[in-house]
């Protein structure tokens, strides 16, 4: 209880904690909604790849003093294109192609960072996030990305759903499924940039797929899944930031751990499909 009161007092007192909290909640919502489509499109590995591939762009942007937003999107999208190009123009399978490209891009990023030691690019912060250092500017950028991404999903909802569920019909009625796919990669890069300071590059994929998967276990309706996923994402952020502040542990990892625990609870105890509940029900039936 004492911890609780202390946390709330600090929340009102310190701007950095407020920023951290708002950023976490925003990321939870954005990643939660986008994540539903990542899961349903079978793009979890692709999401992981693009988030890693953003690294060299971020470092280059720091080096040239431009917004890392631009660099991140450029290298994220180039990697996505390269992955598609390699798997379409050789016998290399798609997952291998993903593995080759994103590790390559990631390695380039690390080499660039170590080349520039002492210039204020903090490897640890980029990789694992430092939500307690979230600035107002970053917060506004996160809001901006969130508005753009959620608006895109809202406006093109029916195209997204159809191209995800039945790409052949989508193509047959003339939807540009290639462009939808590339736009989605772009969105993934944007989301990664937004999540950079809160959870970091390495764990972004967890915010994309874990809350969405938790929601997926609870519902048969996509709109409900999106709302639940956003809720799980932001609740994970709130609880994660709390524990991270109280016990002074890494914030991004703390948020992701909460998301993982929520997933485990639902996986085991969900009323309809929970593994434990199902086995109890079948025992009772016997």
């Amino acid at each position: 209880m004492g911890n609780f009161v202390f946390f709330f007092e600090s929340l009102f007192q310190y701007q950095y904690l407020q920023n951290a909290m708002i950023a976490g909640i925003l990321i939870g919502i954005i990643c939660g909604v986008v994540g539903c489509f990542i899961i349903l499109r079978g793009m979890a590995l692709m999401g992981d790849a693009i988030s890693h591939a953003v690294l060299p762009g971020v470092v280059l942007s720091y080096m040239f003093g431009i917004s890392f937003f631009i660099g991140a999107v450029v290298t994220g999208v180039i990697t996505a294109l390269a992955i598609g190009y390699v798997s379409q123009n050789s016998k290399i399978k798609h997952d291998s192609s993903i593995g080759i490209m994103f590790t390559g891009a990631f390695a380039l990023g690390i080499v660039l960072i170590t080349l520039n030691r002492g210039t204020g690019v903090h490897l640890w912060d980029i990789l694992f996030g430092n939500v307690l250092a979230v600035s107002r500017a970053h917060l506004w950028m996160t809001v901006g990305i969130g508005v753009v991404v959620l608006a895109l999903i809202f406006i093109f909802y029916k195209q997204l759903v159809l191209s995800t569920f039945d790409p052949t019909m989508a193509q047959a009625i003339g939807l540009p499924i290639k462009w939808i796919n590339y736009t989605f990669m772009l969105v993934l890069s944007l989301v990664t940039v937004a999540s950079l300071q809160s959870v970091g590059i390495i764990l972004v994929v967890a915010m994309l797929i874990t809350p969405g998967s938790t929601a997926y276990l609870l519902t048969d309706r996509l709109p409900v899944m999106m709302v639940l996923s956003a809720a799980f994402g932001s609740v994970s952020a709130i609880i994660g930031v709390y524990y991270s502040f109280i016990y002074d542990v890494a914030t991004g990892a703390s948020i992701v751990l909460v998301a993982s625990i929520l997933f485990a609870l639902v996986f085991l105890f969900a009323p309809k499909n929970g593994v434990v509940i199902r086995s109890i029900r079948s025992k009772l039936a016997d």
Binding site: L40, I155, F156, K158, Q159, V161, L162, T164, F165, D166, T168, M169, Q171, A172, I173, G174, Y216, T219, D220, R221, L222, V224, M225
Partner: protein
């Protein structure tokens, strides 16, 4: 409409990575026909359908649908997918799936309106699936799912229907409902282009048959196309042919 051909294909060839999938295919289909495409596994049946739908970029030859380039008549073309190609755990309800058939009629930003929902309900009723409309698609049996996808195609109010193996792995009732529906669509003036997986019943199901094995083996009336010689040529030993009293009984594997 009138005299225009539903589908016209001339000298179509498709190859994947240097392997020929289809070679020099030419045929034309009049409107108001129920046409079956048969042939052994790997004969290029689905490829032919996708080529006609304009989904394969690397194909040679000329294809027109309703005398035009497919890209200008997409609204008039409905597609029923092979069930196995879809993720049936996808979080959509039956009525959401049927409503997708209305998408071609909406603007890029438009949402389905009450009129669209009304049409979707009617189509679902036509295939006898109304009572399942609030179910998640994966909860249905294969045959019921197939009927839902047919309802989606109906909701599109198209002139030409493309169906990829609609009878694969479904129950007898559903097969009955679907074939009756297809015939009644034909009688209403629609053209149907159906990839079919086995040789039984082809004569009672289709007006015309396309027998395919990378090349066009035969095209015409079912009883002419499904002759022992043609089947032997197309299947080359992968079908066991038993001659019965009134012609032939064919078992394929």
């Amino acid at each position: 409409m009138g005299a225009s051909k539903a589908i016209e294909v001339s000298d179509l060839s498709v190859s994947y990575h240097g392997q020929k999938a289809l070679e020099d295919i030419s045929f034309s289909i009049e409107q108001q026909q129920l046409v079956g495409i048969i042939g052994p596994n790997g004969a290029g049946k689905s490829t032919l359908m996708k080529a006609v739908l304009g989904l394969i970029i690397s194909c040679k030859g000329k294809i027109t649908v309703l005398d035009r380039n497919i890209n200008t008549v997409r609204k008039k073309v409905a597609y029923v997918p092979q069930r196995n190609d879809l993720d049936m755990d996808f979080p959509v309800l039956v009525e959401d799936v049927v409503l997708m058939g209305r998408f071609p009629h909406l603007t890029w930003y438009g949402r389905p309106k009450e009129k669209d929902r009304e049409i979707a309900r009617k189509c679902l009723d036509q295939v006898g699936m109304s009572e399942y409309r609030r179910r998640q698609i994966g909860e249905l049996s294969g045959g019921q799912q197939q009927r839902v996808f047919l309802a989606r195609a109906l909701a599109q109010e198209a002139d030409i229907f493309f169906l990829d193996e609609p009878f694969a792995g479904i129950d007898v009732t559903s097969e009955r409902i679907i074939i009756d529906m297809l015939k009644s669509l034909r009688d209403q003036g629609k053209t149907l282009f159906v990839v079919h997986h086995d040789l039984s019943k082809v004569e009672s199901y289709f007006d015309h048959l396309i027998l395919l094995n990378k090349r066009l083996v035969a095209y015409g009336k079912p009883d002419e196309v499904a002759s022992v010689d043609n089947i032997e040529e197309a299947y080359r030993g992968s079908a066991i042919i038993l001659s019965g009293e009134n012609g032939k009984v064919v078992a394929s594997n």
